[in-house]
């Protein structure tokens, strides 16, 4: 069997939620999945035995090139503040800013992965005035650059792989790592924002169980309504790249299945929507954020047509928290 790939995982300006989501991996569980993919965890801040000096010995060996780092996963924003010093995150026990550690380690790594939207773009940690100077590894919001710069390439020749999401679905990270380990991941497997196409070629809208309501523009008016969340409650599932309603979360879930809007958390600057998250901005009663690749006039015309054709069943169920009008059953005829 081939030598396993060494994976080093570090966390900076985030919430740790991508790691916690990763622990939701199933069939098999996380550690078996790593083993099956031929991946050896060198060190992970939440999972490894080594702490303090033992952990530092590993990190130093990696930074000095004495330990091979095939895969470097960074979770959380990179904290450049205050005033570019990086002191908002000193790697504990080292007196040294985490951004300096990440620069050094990225230069040694076979492949660098940004795990989650914080590491990819800055994410929620860059909200508002961005008090911490949070940035992504190779993007600052939509702008290429970030901590490592737009020209950064890891030893594999690829730029940073942006496994964006807030949090990530465990499958997005594990499939990407497995594809890399199997030699099945190259530039063609990434979209224009360097996200793995294995999940970013879909829209959150795909597989949404509210699809019939969407078709007829039968919209929810308030939380707990069953209707489409796009027209009134801020849903951006038709614009957000991810397979959340195909590859479900925690067994059977997704944001839309949980009753709340997609806030396009896999996209740069989702933390600054420019309007309240749970309200759809409109001009003359028409949502501004229409499906990206659909001509506006067509959308408006189709919406008007489908609204006028909405079955009573769909119209009534859309504004209820349970099915008030079930689909009619054919009876009495053999």
């Amino acid at each position: 069997m081939a030598e396993p790939l060494n994976l080093l995982w570090l966390q900076s300006g985030g919430c740790g939620g991508c790691t916690l989501s990763l622990l939701n991996a199933e069939q098999p569980g996380l550690f078996d999945r790593f083993a099956d993919a031929g991946i050896r965890l060198l060190w992970h801040p939440s999972l490894s035995e080594e702490t303090g000096d033992e952990a530092l010995a590993i990190l130093v060996a990696c930074a000095e090139g004495r330990e091979r780092v095939d895969l470097l996963c960074i979770e959380g924003s990179l904290m450049t503040g205050p005033h570019g010093s990086g002191r908002f995150h000193i790697l504990a026990g080292t007196g040294r800013p985490m951004v300096d550690w990440v620069r050094d380690l990225a230069g040694r790594a076979g492949q660098v992965l940004a795990v989650g939207s914080c590491a990819a773009w800055g994410g929620i940690t860059a909200s508002g005035p961005n008090p911490g100077g949070a940035t992504g590894l190779q993007y600052d919001g939509e702008t290429p650059g970030g901590l490592l710069g737009r020209d950064f390439r890891s030893a594999s020749g690829l730029p940073v792989v942006n496994v964006a999401g807030c949090p990530i679905h465990p499958g997005w990270v594990l499939d990407t790592l497995q594809a890399i380990a199997m030699g099945r991941f190259g530039a063609a497997e990434m979209d224009a924002l360097q996200r793995p196409r294995l999940y970013a070629d879909h829209l959150v809208h795909h597989g949404c169980p509210r699809n019939e309501y969407y078709e007829f523009k039968a919209s929810a008016g308030k939380p707990s309504d069953q209707g489409c969340l796009m027209e009134n409650l801020g849903c951006k599932g038709t614009q957000a790249h991810a397979d959340c309603n195909i590859r479900l979360w925690n067994g059977s879930g997704s944001c839309l299945r949980g009753g709340y809007a997609c806030i396009r958390c896999t996209e740069p600057r989702f933390e600054a929507p420019g309007h309240p998250y749970a309200e759809t901005p409109k001009v003359a009663g028409i949502p501004i954020g229409l499906p990206a690749d659909m001509p506006r006039a067509w959308f408006v015309a189709l919406a008007a047509l489908s609204k006028s054709a909405t079955p009573k069943r769909v119209r009534e169920n859309a504004v209820s928290d349970h099915i008030v009008t079930p689909p009619a059953a054919k009876t009495g005829v053999k």
Partner: protein, 477 residues
């Protein structure tokens, strides 16, 4: 006299970034300073947003207390709106809050805390072989049992909250995720399945039998009566004297947990030799040793402005105090305030120790799963899930809840329809606070002072620090 300064960091298998400074004199910790080494600034990010945006942003303060952050924000907005939530929505809030907290207890025990007993330092102990094989980090066979069980339990979040972490299903009026009959049946089924895991692997006994343990004698008898991972821990704890390790202030705070339609399932209060009513006006946050500007303030007036060059500071963590005193929060505190008899007996005998903190978490697992089964059975498909809640343009409110690791509060001020101030006091802000202006060390700093570290061996430090189940992401936020 041999004087030594030690820094332990990165202190891992805790949530977030932690550095522990120890002054060791003649192989004994003379004093400890705890440093939270990451600042993000959520309290600077939230002002200017509409209040409802907090429901999307605050869960992302923390990936392990995500729902608890939601519940605190929902409670604050609920108070602001004067809303009465739908009964089904309240049950959903209790269920997903309990799901997160119990999953956290499990994660803590199996993945964060127990692996330290597989360290080579214990190779000579009689229990080492089986304990190391079961709990060694990443390789131990317990992980192969617990990860699938935890992930399956988390299917509850898929059904009730869309996903975990970072759900937005909870609202001031209740829950945006209505359950139909098959969903309720699935929740009940998932809970039965989780119960089976706990009874088979963790307790080796019925949950109800564990929940009823009421004295040290009963616990000692129970320990000799079977297998399971908790009994394994108790044997280790007895051998290593973990019941004598890690006492902090022995003053315990709980905001009360699980706001059921009938009131909080576990009550709010302060234990200081006896239970006193909770007085939130008694809470203030000192910043004398944090890299932050200003003086001690109540959270409703709180400020968060970095001052990175402040000379006497050593952490980004504020120092919350209750009537100026250091208190401990967490499962142990919750059960002290709730009057769980075994926990009270443990603290009466040896104070708040490593063993008592772990045992309190295990008891919560045993007590709460049956209660969750009861909550699920009370759900009425077809009855309302979410009432309308109009948020006013001006006002102040406080949202209090209990995360797995203790008391979490959000203090909110709204002006002209926008958040004007948002202050968060998190569980580990209490437990891992630095010294205050009166030089009182925080709870963990007290728990480490006096610890014998023969030969400079710091494994006991690992146990004490992790016994609090710290969440550093929440701590500074």
């Amino acid at each position: 006299m041999k004087v030594e300064k030690r820094i332990v960091g990165p202190f891992n298998r805790v949530e977030g970034d932690l550095e522990v400074h120890l002054d060791i004199v003649d192989e004994r910790v003379e004093s400890a300073r705890i440093s939270a080494s990451l600042y993000r600034g959520f309290e600077e990010m939230l002002p200017g947003r509409v209040p409802a945006d907090a429901l999307f942003i605050v869960p992302r303060i923390c990936g392990i207390c995500s729902v608890s952050q939601s519940i605190a924000a929902v409670a604050a907005l609920r108070e602001l709106a004067g809303a009465t939530p739908a009964r089904n929505g309240q049950l959903a809030e209790c269920l997903i809050g309990a799901c997160e907290n119990l999953a956290d207890h499990l994660t803590h025990f199996y993945l964060f805390f127990m692996p330290d007993f597989a360290r080579a330092a214990y190779a000579g102990r009689p229990w080492f072989g089986p304990v190391a094989a079961r709990f060694r980090a990443i390789q131990g066979d317990a992980a192969r049992d617990v990860l699938p069980a935890r992930a399956a339990f988390m299917h509850l979040m898929g059904v009730l909250a869309g996903k975990w972490p970072h759900s937005q299903s909870l609202h001031p009026g209740g829950s945006a995720r209505p359950l139909a009959q098959p969903d309720v049946l699935q929740v009940i089924t998932l809970l039965r399945d989780f119960r089976r895991f706990l009874e088979t692997h963790l307790f080796g006994d019925r949950l109800e039998n564990v929940a009823q343990l009421a004295s040290l004698d009963e616990l000692e008898r129970w320990r000799g009566q079977g297998g399971g991972d908790l009994r394994g821990f108790l044997a280790v704890a007895a051998d290593l004297g973990l019941g004598q390790l890690g006492q902090a202030s022995n003053r315990f705070l709980s905001y009360g947990a699980y706001a059921t339609p009938e009131g909080r399932y576990w009550p709010a209060g302060l234990w200081d030799g006896e239970v006193q009513p909770l007085d939130i006006a008694a809470i203030s946050e000192d910043v004398s040793h944090a890299w932050l500007e200003g003086d001690a303030l109540p959270p409703a007036e709180g400020r968060t402005r970095p001052q990175p060059d402040k000379a006497e500071a050593y952490t980004w963590c504020k120092a919350p105090r209750y009537r100026g005193q250091v208190v401990e929060t967490g499962a142990l505190a919750r059960q002290m305030v709730a009057g769980q008899p075994l926990v009270r007996a443990m603290v009466a005998a040896q104070g708040g120790s490593v063993t008592a903190r772990v045992m309190a978490r295990m008891l919560e697992l045993a007590i709460l799963v049956p209660e969750m089964e009861a909550w699920a059975r009370q759900i009425e498909p077809g009855a309302p899930w979410c009432t309308t809640a109009e948020l006013p343009d001006e006002g102040r409110a406080v949202g209090l809840t209990e995360a797995a690791r203790g008391s979490l509060g959000h203090w909110l001020t709204v002006k002209q329809g926008r958040i004007a101030r948002y202050q968060i006091v998190a569980p580990t802000t209490w437990n891992f606070s630095p010294r205050d202006a009166g030089a009182q060390p925080g709870a963990l700093e007290q728990a480490l002072a006096g610890l014998a570290v023969p030969g400079g061996e710091l494994t006991a430090v690992q146990h004490i620090v992790r016994s609090f189940d710290p969440c550093m992401a929440c701590t500074v936020h």
